[in-house]
Structures are given as C-alpha cells and as structure tokens.
C-alpha cells in the first residue's frame, strides 16, 4: 500500500507539472515519458534477464515510422490505432530478431542487436523514395480518443491533451510491466539471469523466456518510439542510429537497472541534465562520457542505487 502511495504521489507530481512548470520544461517531459516507456521494456531485458541490447533504437525507429506512415500515407490519425500498430509491428519484427539473438548472450547478443539496428537504419536511409531518407516522414498530429485536435495551437496540444495521454500510456505501461516482473514469468527471468544452468535444470526454458522478454521489450520500445514522434512532427533515420541505442542503455544505467523505477529516473535525469549542459557548454559529450565512466566505475547501480545507499556490487567474472 505504501508503494502505491509513493507511486501515486509521483504520478500526481508529473500530472501537476503543466500547471506549475514553464512551457518548455513541460515539453521536455514528453520525451521523458516516451523514453520511460522504452526503458521499462529495455530493463526487462537488461536488469531482469541480464541481456544488454545495443540495437533497441531499431524498435524505437520502427514505432516512430509506423506512426508517421499511418498519419501521412494511410491518413489514419487515431493515436490508439497508431500505438496498437506500433506494438504489433514491434512484436512482428522482434520475433525473427529475437529468435536469432537469444541463442547468444553477452557480447554476441550485443553485437547482433547492434547489427540489426544498423541494418534498419541503413534501410530507412537508403530507400528514400519509400521512407523519405534523411528528410524523414512527417508525423502529423494524432487524434486522441477519437477526437481530432488539429484546431488547437500545437504547443497547447502538446502540453495539454497529448501530455496527459502520454502520462496515461506510461502509467498503463508501468502497471503492466510491474505485473510482468512480479509474475512467475518475471521470477523465471531473474533465475535465468542469475544462473542459466540452474534454470535449465529446474525445467525453465532459457531461450524461450529470453525470447518473450525480448519481444515484450521490443513492444515497449515501439510504443515509446511512436510517442516520440508527434512533438517533433517528423521522424528520421537518426532515431535508429547505434549511438541512440547506446544512449538509452546509458539512461538505464544512470538511473539504476537494479530497481524497477530506476530507468525511469535515469531517463528523467539524462534529459534534464543534457538539456542544461548543452546550453552551457559546447563540449557536453565530454562531460556525459565522463559521467558514464564514473557511473560504470563507482556507481553501477545508478542513482537509485546511490540513494538507497547500496554499495556498488562487484560482479565476479569467474
């Protein structure tokens, strides 16, 4: 019950933001919420199953392009349809990719996912007659709950209806993920992460569970990707570049992959910190690189790990 209270307060704080914070900062909450959804899914794979994907930007791109194609070419504006199609497309593409990738772990898994990510990027960039190439495809303003809000000024739409819709999707996604990780399935994942051999002897199919975890994480990434599109109004191939995949892993690590809400915190801190640092210093990559190095060395449990005052766990290789 106390957990529910804490989460409720958090949601209330986010919900109150449009009333108290400046327009610009409210707008920054939009990618935060989209990335939070992506990271909840990514962490199912990373934190709970022990697999680090370096190609998840593929699914972000997939979801974003799905939405762009639907609004621009298929003239479908309903955000519900867009999110469903994004989720379905994410799952569809994830099935063969996951089937191939989950046979391997650690570095090979990372490399294979990176390869798939860059294949998608190259495809989208090259087939410009279909996808718009580097110019991308416009993502027109989605209709929410059946109501077209094209008449509103875009900013009002973004900090109003679209903001709360995103929050709703995030809350739903978090709820579903909470149930997943606390279910027997989630328990199996943790067992597999900690000791795959033991898991097999217990009768848990390692590859099957990793497969499902991958597909679920892909669905989350695609939904998050679809939500990233409307504030920009355009989707382009850079959404699928490998450094974008690296950044979302960075966010997860920053917040703390050992806790459920850690990655969400990571997304928040990353976005606001990057926003501040970029304006102050042109060499922000240097600072962020240093930050990542420090986290990896001294605080691998991330910010949440620091706050809960846990010593960084040193994992043995043997």
């Amino acid at each position: 019950m106390k957990t529910a209270l804490a989460v409720g307060l958090g949601v209330a704080a986010i919900a109150a933001a449009p009333l108290v914070a400046s327009t610009y900062h409210v707008l920054l909450m939009l990618p935060f919420m989209a990335y939070a959804i992506v990271l909840l899914g990514l962490n199912l794979l990373f934190g709970y199953t022990g697999l680090v994907s370096f190609g998840h930007a593929l699914f972000i791109g997939l979801g974003a392009y799905a939405g762009a194609f639907l609004t621009t070419h298929a003239k479908i504006r309903s955000l519900e349809v867009i999110l469903l199609v994004a989720a379905a497309l994410g799952a569809l593409v994830a099935v063969p990719v996951a089937a191939l990738c989950v046979r391997y772990v650690k570095i090979y898994f990372g490399m294979l996912t990176l390869a798939f990510g860059m294949l998608f990027y190259t495809f989208v960039l090259k087939f410009y007659r279909l996808t718009g190439g580097d110019e991308g495809t416009p993502f027109l303003r989605p209709a929410l709950l059946g109501r077209s809000l094209d008449a509103m000024p875009k900013i009002d739409y973004l900090v109003g209806p679209y903001y709360y819709y995103s929050l709703g999707v995030l809350a739903l996604a978090a709820l579903v993920m909470w149930r997943i990780v606390h279910s027997p399935f989630g328990l199996c994942l943790k067992t597999i992460r900690d000791n795959p051999v033991k898991a097999e002897t217990l009768g848990i199919s390692v590859t099957r569970h990793r497969f499902y975890a991958f597909v679920i994480s892909a669905i989350y990434a695609a939904v998050g990707g679809a939500l990233l599109g409307p504030p920009t109004g355009n989707v382009d191939p850079t959404l699928a570049y490998w450094t974008h995949s690296g950044n979302i892993v960075f966010m997860t690590l920053l917040g703390g992959f050992t806790s459920f809400f850690g990655p969400v915190v990571g997304a928040f801190v990353f976005i606001y910190l990057q926003n501040w640092v970029m304006s102050v210093v042109p060499y922000w990559r240097l600072i962020f690189g240093a930050m990542l190095a420090v986290i990896v060395i001294a605080a691998p449990d991330g910010l949440v790990g620091l706050v809960t005052r846990r010593r960084p766990a040193l994992t043995g290789r043997a």
């Binding site: 570095i107 294949l119 240097l286 190095a293």
Partner: protein, 303 residues
C-alpha cells in the same frame, strides 16, 4: 574479345582488386587493435575507431609540422608513422586511468566504458583540432604512380597495402615467436591458468591494450595522406570494423585479415557492379555470419 577491350577489362579488374585491397588494408588497420584487445581481455573496444581517428589527426599535425620545419617531402612518411606509433601511448592512459577499474565487472559494463571513451574522445579531438576536415594536402602524390596491367595505381596506396601486410606479419611473428606473444596466446586461451602460472595480468592487460591502441593510431596516421580527417570519423568507422571482426571472428588476427579482405573486396565489386547494395550487403553478410557461424571464420567459442 579484341585485344583493346581485353586490356580494358583487365585494367578495370586490376583497379577493382587494388581498390578493394586498399580499403581492406584500411579496415584491417582499424580492426587489428580491436582484435588484439578482445582476444586477450575479452573487451569489445568501441573506441577503436576513435583511436584510429586520433592517429589520423595527429598524423596530419605531425606532417604539417615536419613540412613547415623544412623536412624533405619525400620522407614525410617517417614522421607520420612515428607520430602514429607515439600517440598510441594514449592507450596506457586510458587503460590505467579508466579501463582497469572495470576488469572484474560484467562484459556489459566494459562495453559501456568503451562507449564512454568514444564520447569523450569525440569532444577531445574536436577541442584540439576543431571541426574542419584536416588533410596532408598533396603529399599523397609524392611517390607518384605505377602502371599495372593498364591500370594507374598511386604508389602510396601500395605503400598502405604493404604496411598493412607488414603489420599483419609482425603481429603474427609477435604472437608466434616472442615470449610476450606466447603470454598473449595463453591468456587468450585460458586466463585463469595463465594467472595461476604466474603471469602478471595487470601488466599484460596494460601492454595489450596499449598495443591495440597503437595499432589503431598507427593505422589512422598511415592512411590519412590518402584521405582526410573529418569530425565523427571514429563513430563511422566502428561500424565497418565491427563487420570485419564479426566475419573474421572475434579475437582472431587471422580473422581480421581475412574479414577485411572479404569486406574490402566485396565492397569494391559491389560498387562497380551494383552500387545500391554496398553497405546493405555488408550488414546482411554480418547477420548471416552471426546466425550461421557466430564465431566467424576463425573465432573462438561463441557466448
């Protein structure tokens, strides 16, 4: 086919082959450092492209200084190679200062550490050399051209190919004939055993990482007269290097050599025959290899 047409076809084949070999040499130089480090330390160093870029920029500066100081242009390759080798010392700084803290961590963290190094090096290079493309100007042409079977080939390209080959042979000799090489191979095969037999892992790791870095920086320096140093070139190169080591097999120098040849020559053929395919072809081959034979042509056991 009449003789002239035949001659043209041969000349073109020679051009394709040599341009493929040139590109393969470049790729090998980027990938060699990656392989050495992975083979021994089991770390996939995303920053290998950044070290290559560093070598390129340092090479331009070194040559610029050399020519400005009045050195004979024909010998420019000497300060170039020396500078490329010397700046490999950065490897020591990176290894001692950053990497060694994550040796006992999961592979993921090591990978992320190298990602952090990529970010930092991007800006460090930008800070030092700015964003304008840097080049050694016309020195590329200093050694002239040769005609081979009707094709005109810049001698410097042959120099790069020869250097690449020489380095490959040198590494081969190092691994097979020297004590250090034996230690590297032993550690790559079975680290615990090597440690148990008294090998000081700390020293080995430092040396190996520095060797890997130096291979990258030397490669960058040697190639730069034929091209130009541009912003974010390290981030672009890692993608191709990645393809090379996957095809060849992670951790294997022979794999880097063969993988580079495969990618370089296939790319050259694709450009002449079916240019749209180019990069897509490489990715498809990467995925096919990872799926069918994940350890590549010469790699060790997968996962």
């Amino acid at each position: 086919m009449d003789q002239r047409l035949e001659g043209v076809a041969v000349a073109h084949a020679v051009n394709v082959l040599l341009s493929g070999l040139f590109h393969a040499s470049v790729l090998f130089l980027v990938a060699a450092g990656l392989q050495v480090v992975f083979g021994v330390q089991k770390i996939f160093n995303l920053a290998c492209g950044s070290f290559y870029a560093l070598g390129a920029y340092v090479g331009v500066s070194a040559v610029g200084w050399y020519v400005g100081a009045g050195g004979p242009p024909a010998l420019f390759i000497v300060p170039l190679a020396l500078a490329g080798l010397a700046v490999g010392a950065v490897g020591v700084v990176v290894e001692r200062g950053l990497l060694r803290f994550v040796y006992d961590r999961d592979e993921t963290f090591q990978l992320l550490m190298t990602f952090a190094i990529v970010l930092m090096m991007e800006d460090a290079i930008r800070l030092t050399w700015g964003t304008a493309p840097r080049s050694t100007g016309g020195l590329y042409l200093a050694y002239g051209q040769v005609r081979l079977f009707g094709a005109t080939v810049p001698v410097y390209n042959l120099v790069v190919i020869a250097a690449s080959l020489a380095i490959a042979l040198a590494i081969g000799w190092l691994l097979a004939r020297t004590a250090f090489g034996r230690i590297i191979r032993a550690t790559a095969d079975n680290r615990e055993m090597a440690e148990a037999l008294g090998v000081d892992m700390r020293r080995v790791y430092a040396k190996v990482f520095t060797l890997g870095t130096a291979l990258g920086t030397l490669g960058g320096a040697l190639v730069i007269p034929a091209t130009a140093a541009m912003s974010e070139m390290g981030i672009e190169l890692i993608v191709e290097a990645f393809a090379v080591v996957v095809i060849g097999g992670l951790g294997s120098m022979r794999g880097a050599f063969v993988g580079a040849l495969v990618v370089g020559i296939l790319r050259a053929i694709a450009i002449s025959v079916y240019p749209e395919l180019e990069m897509l072809l490489i990715y498809l081959i990467v995925i096919a290899v990872l799926v069918a034979r994940p350890r590549g042509l010469f790699g060790g056991a997968a996962a």
